[in-house]
């Protein structure tokens, strides 16, 4: 990955009539980077992608692709390829015609078209399907063809709009793997919109978590998972989601107080930023809770066990707050077992309860 920017989104705004979807949003995407736009539906991620593609006209701001101001250029002149959730294959054309449509529109020579189709078909293993119509293909095959259509155009930037959302779980995992491989082999810039955090975590070089048209956090998947910038990101990423405890910080003892319980957080990285009596939300991921008895552990009862094969989820509660704990698949717990849990404070996150920002 070079340090050069491939796509630059500069202070763009977009509104439908009076409804503002994006407001003064900026985002730089490096050459060869796999950028995932992640967020719940209605967060503006698809709108942003459509703006980059040129399918929606900006209200304000600029879009640059490969050092070229494309803000008012037609989609076809932006060196992009796009893959849609609904596949969007032309139903009246064979797979071959679907793949070649863009090239034919550009007036590419016939043998060059054939060569490119062959290459793309080999890469995506759709050689056998070239003569078929889209209606004769399965969902996974259709999406392969749709990816192929972007591939043959030699696009500099690939745009994916929830490409796997219409597929079943198994196919989704398969195609996710293929997309990752494709990026490894082609190293094109890719921008990928999804609401699926697994896709985001597995594919992205960087994730941009969005909500209400604003980028909440832009970072590597690791950082986003381990050091979420705010409560929204913390709750959105991770399944089962992060456990939250409302608490108050006591400076003298370096404890947070949850109801009647006290938790020692002296090992927290940014403890010095906390003020006495500050209202906070303590967040801890299910896998960062250990079942062990020590001077800092809390006693509670097993309320529900969810065996998931690879691991087992144990549900309990602390002062009325539900807590999930991720344990090894082999661990054996029964309902109403008394357990002692302790938190891995190094890996916890503490948020200010007013600003909801991470401290």
């Amino acid at each position: 990955m070079s340090m050069k920017n491939s796509v630059e989104v500069k202070n763009i705004s977009f509104s439908y009539g009076k409804t503002e979807i994006l407001n003064d949003l900026s985002l730089d995407i490096k050459e060869g980077e796999f950028m995932v736009l992640l967020g719940p539906s209605g967060c503006g991620k698809t709108t942003l992608l459509n703006c980059i593609a040129g399918l929606l006209d900006l209200t304000d701001g600029q879009i640059w692709i490969e050092d070229d101001n494309v803000t008012w250029k037609e989609p076809k002149d932006r060196h992009i390829g796009m893959v849609f959730q609904s596949y969007a294959l032309y139903p009246s054309m064979t797979v071959e015609k679907n793949l070649s449509f863009g090239l034919r529109m550009m007036g590419t020579a016939k043998d060059l078209i054939n060569e490119k189709i062959k290459k793309a078909a080999n890469l995506l293993q759709i050689n056998e399907l070239l003569k078929r119509k889209p209606s004769q293909l399965s969902g996974g095959q259709r999406q392969r063809v749709a990816i192929g259509r972007a591939l043959v155009r030699d696009a500099k930037v690939f745009l994916f709009d929830e490409p796997l959302s219409n597929l079943d779980a198994k196919l989704r995992a398969e195609l996710r793997y293929e997309i990752k491989k494709l990026h490894r082999d082609l190293s094109n810039t890719m921008i990928y919109v999804t609401h699926d955090q697994i896709e985001a975590m597995t594919l992205a070089d960087r994730i941009s978590v969005m909500k209400d048209g604003l980028i909440q956090q832009l970072d590597t998947p690791k950082q986003i998972y381990n050091k979420p910038a705010n409560l929204f990101v913390a709750g959105f990423i991770g399944s089962p989601s992060m456990n939250f405890l409302k608490a108050k910080f006591d400076k003298s003892s370096q404890n947070i107080i949850v109801g009647k319980k006290q938790i020692d957080i002296s090992k927290y990285e940014n403890i010095n930023n906390l003020m006495n009596d500050q209202e906070v939300v303590f967040g801890i991921r299910p896998e960062n809770i250990n079942i062990e008895k020590n001077e800092n552990s809390i006693q509670c009862k097993v309320e529900l066990v969810e065996p998931m094969g690879a691991d087992t989820l144990v549900w309990t509660s602390v002062e009325g707050n539900p807590i999930s704990i991720r344990l090894e698949g082999s661990s054996n717990f029964n309902l109403n077992d008394e357990i002692n849990i302790s938190f891995d404070i190094n890996k916890s996150s503490i948020f200010d309860s007013k600003s909801e920002e991470r401290i």
Binding site: N50, G54, A88, M105
Partner: protein
Amino acid sequence: MSTIPKGPRPKHLTVGRVGLYCFIIMCALFFLMPLYVMIITSLKDMDEIRAANILNLPKELSFYAWPKAWSQACTGFVCEGLKPGFVNSVKITVPSVIVSVALSALNGYALAFWRFRGAYFFFGLCMFGAFIPYQVMVYPLLKIEDFLGIYSSLPGIILVHTIFGMPILTLIFRNFYASLPIDLFKAARIDGGNFIKIFFYVIIPMSTPITIVAVILQVTGIWNDFLLGLVFAGRDNQPMTVQLNNIVQVDYGVAEYNVDMSATILTSLVPLFVYFISGRWFVRGIAAGAIKG
């Protein structure tokens, strides 16, 4: 334990069912009655018709009314039957249908996909246009065509049919295109299509069902039209319906009911034919045209 069902499904011929069939058969008979009278009358000679047994089958089949209606009956001063009217109707219908359907498809496509500024206003205008009774427009349009020098001519009547067909057809096409996935259109734009290319390469190949519906609507509508043909076509281009009227409305001599009946059946053959070869689509056309009221 419950018993396992065996044998054929039990028949349920209830009283309600019987009543229903009776009703349906009665309805069918009621609506077929005029057709029955028309056909048997067209096969009687005038003596038998004067005997006034309207529902009786002909004692002796006589076919002379049919060729007479087709090629000898008098329509005003000339006595060439309906044949010239048929030719005129074809000359009017074919270009009107092609032009109006093609333009409406293009309009519907533009309205559905290229949401230009004022598209909704234009859509509302079409809706409004589809509801205007065209009698209101006859005189102004007559003056316009007179000014353009195409009044009372073939291009004149084709233009009128095209204009009156377009609002409703545009609506039908727009609604059909609006139901297509917008992603297809987006993909085509990224693939390098412009307004015309996308229309020809992507949209038209998907338009078969709605085009059939539109063609059926237009063919039956234009073929059955009387008023516009009478006013705008001119003496030389009078469609079949106008000629039929001239045959039936005799001011002197004897009213030949058998000729009238066969002429009427001949005139309605084209819409009937369209209906029989495309029944399924015809129903859809009616449903699509239902917004017309």
